[in-house]
């Protein structure tokens, strides 16, 4: 039985069941991490939404546990980053074993000068719990409806009409936009009969969480990965530490294993014992998965938008599923808010599709390659891998080839239509890089909305609707000293950056004029795009 106590959320009778109606422009289907993050993002921009979930508890089973630096920075913006960091287990060393011998270890973030670490491990139920707590801080903007299953939706003149089934009856909910955050099995996607095809891996993986007292690692927490360990011959295994003395174990299974037969405790416990030795442990949660790498061809279908696992799924090696989903929201939230506020054309929403499909492709390529390396399909693939591992014991070049997951990094949106081309240390399209500023951090002091960031002697024009921020500047807008030179290193001196509300660089300037900044901002809002 899981140690985490799930608190059921109450069912609240919605006005629609009594002839009333809600006026929220956005309906979010699914209160997983992605749906909840979108609700908070929109609320912070003053946009109201209704969140519908068929269930009434946060994720059962820990599922996603690795949250990447960029995602944590987004969570920071959403007001939950620090809480996650405080609770999470920070790790940055990955250790690789071949057989029982250590082959090498790698430091994920050898670079100093970031508020958030490369990764933390935190069970998905905590991530959802914290997002849910945060969502409840916006009672006027976020209408949380649990035990509310969306069973149908039809286009209307102004948007979508959703059919919602509840314990107290069925009703219709009207919304201008419907965002399907209803997970890998997305009923919305199935209802619309959209093709969802890609690579399916036939190997099965057993995923287990165990609770174990005491410190397993001698030093700080690490990620351990084995190819072909003696306790699990011919297969791979992974061990990760989570908060509350919980450890995640992934075991690759035989291709044709009968899931039922291996998922019983008698088969699983000895394998776990082989990893953890004679330390006492308790099985907290266990499940068997096969993995796919798939994306929809389009994420935007008129007023219906797909985000998170409903739009794309990846195998978990590289932790790109949940992280990718949160980054979808980072991209979508401000665009939806701008279109709803009438500040941007609907075509801006189409750039969510192009930008995030590009990211999904990147995530799929990386996740699929890692899974391919871990599960060779042919004798020749197995041979290449065996020789790579053999040489990796003493050849640095071979270590780099070993692929046990290329961990999630933000997608660069270079060359996409919203960005104004330009050259700078941080190119247009890239996600901003953190740096210590005075006693604080760049990601924490960034104002909301579009920001014109100036470093050094550059003069920032005052443009309506664009906040200004200076580094090593002295002006009548917020300015911060570049404490240890990291900002200068990462951004260069004497230039300005126009940053989108999601922290991606929209444009760079040596000498920003009000007119050029305004033009770049208009372009980033999609005002130069043809409305489809």
């Amino acid at each position: 039985m899981p140690a985490y106590e799930h608190t059921p959320e109450p069912f609240k009778r919605p006005p629609e069941l009594d002839g009333g109606r809600s006026n929220a422009p956005v309906a979010i289907v699914g209160a997983g991490p992605v749906g909840l993050a979108l609700a908070v993002d929109l609320a912070q921009r003053g946009v109201a939404c209704t969140v519908l979930d068929d269930n009434n508890v946060v994720s059962v089973g820990s599922r996603a546990i690795c949250w990447a630096k960029r995602t944590l920075e987004i969570f920071d913006r959403l007001g939950v980053g620090q809480r996650m960091l405080d609770k999470g287990v920070t790790w940055k060393v990955g250790r690789l074993f071949h057989g029982d011998d250590p082959v090498y270890d790698f430091d994920l973030l050898p670079e100093e000068g970031h508020a958030y670490p490369a990764f933390i491990n935190l069970q998905q139920y905590y991530v959802e719990e914290y997002l849910l707590d945060r969502a409840k801080e916006f009672p006027d903007l976020i209408d949380l409806r649990f035990l509310s299953k969306v069973t149908d939706h039809t286009p209307t003149e102004t948007g979508v009409a959703l059919t919602v089934e509840t314990p107290e009856g069925r009703y219709t909910l009207d919304a201008d936009w419907m965002v399907a955050c209803d997970g890998a099995g997305s009923p919305t996607r199935k209802r619309m009969d959209l093709a969802f095809e890609g690579q399916t891996f036939t190997e099965q993986f057993l995923i287990a969480d165990i609770e174990m007292e005491g410190e397993f690692f001698d030093g700080p927490p690490e990620r351990w990965f084995w190819f072909d360990p003696t306790f699990h011959p011919g297969k791979s295994a992974l061990l990760h530490q989570q908060p509350d003395n919980i450890y995640r174990i992934d075991l690759q299974l035989d291709r044709d294993t009968d899931a039922e037969s291996v998922a019983d405790e008698e088969t699983v416990l000895p394998r776990i014992r082989a990893i953890v030795g004679d330390r006492p442990f308790r099985l907290d949660w266990m499940s068997i998965y096969t993995f796919r790498c798939i994306t929809l061809d389009r994420y935007v279908h008129g007023p219906v938008i797909f985000a998170g696992d409903s739009a794309h799924v990846v195998s978990p090696f590289g932790a790109r599923g949940g992280n990718g989903g949160i980054q979808d929201i980072d991209n979508l939230g401000w665009k939806l808010a701008a279109v709803i506020a009438g500040e941007a054309p609907r075509a801006l929403i189409d750039t969510y599709d192009t930008e995030r499909r590009r990211a999904a492709r990147e995530n799929i390529v990386n996740s699929a390659r890692a899974t391919n390396f871990m599960t060779p399909k042919t004798p020749i693939e197995a041979l290449f891998r065996a020789e790579t591992l053999r040489m990796a014991h003493d050849q640095p070049f071979a270590r780099r080839i070993i692929n046990s997951g290329r961990l999630s990094t933000p997608c660069a949106l270079t060359g996409e239509a919203l960005q104004t081309p330009g050259t700078a240390p941080l190119e247009p399209g890239r996600a901003l890089l953190d740096a210590p500023l005075g006693d604080d951090w760049l990601v924490r002091v960034m104002p909301d909305g579009f920001v014109l960031l100036g470093i050094g002697t550059v003069v920032l024009p005052d443009v309506a609707g664009i906040a200004r921020m200076g580094i090593d500047q002295n002006a009548d807008y917020p300015c911060y000293p570049d404490r240890d030179g990291y900002a200068l290193d990462r951004y260069g001196r004497d230039r300005a950056y126009l940053i989108r509300p999601d922290g991606h660089v929209a444009a760079v300037f040596d000498t920003p004029t009000a007119q050029a900044v305004e033009r770049a901002r208009d372009r980033a809002l999609g005002r130069m795009l043809e409305d489809a």
Partner: protein
């Protein structure tokens, strides 16, 4: 036995591209065909290196692991 050490000359992304390209080259071949492809690939790469001393060093390193 001492052997030369070979550092990576590809950045991480390119390393994955190269490995994927080699796997793709083998896709759908029989073991014998793959064996032959490997031979051709080695000869092509040796020629692309264009340095007999370096090829000899690489042969030595690769051979060390045969024992």
């Amino acid at each position: 036995m001492s052997k030369p050490t070979h550092d990576s000359r590809l950045d991480p992304a390119a390393t994955d591209d190269v490995y994927a390209a080699i796997m793709a080259a083998h896709d759908g071949l029989t073991d014998a065909q793959s064996h032959a492809l490997n031979a051709r690939l080695v000869l092509l790469m040796a020629n692309a290196l264009g340095d007999a001393d370096e090829v000899a060093t690489l042969c030595r390193t690769a051979r060390v692991y045969a024992g």
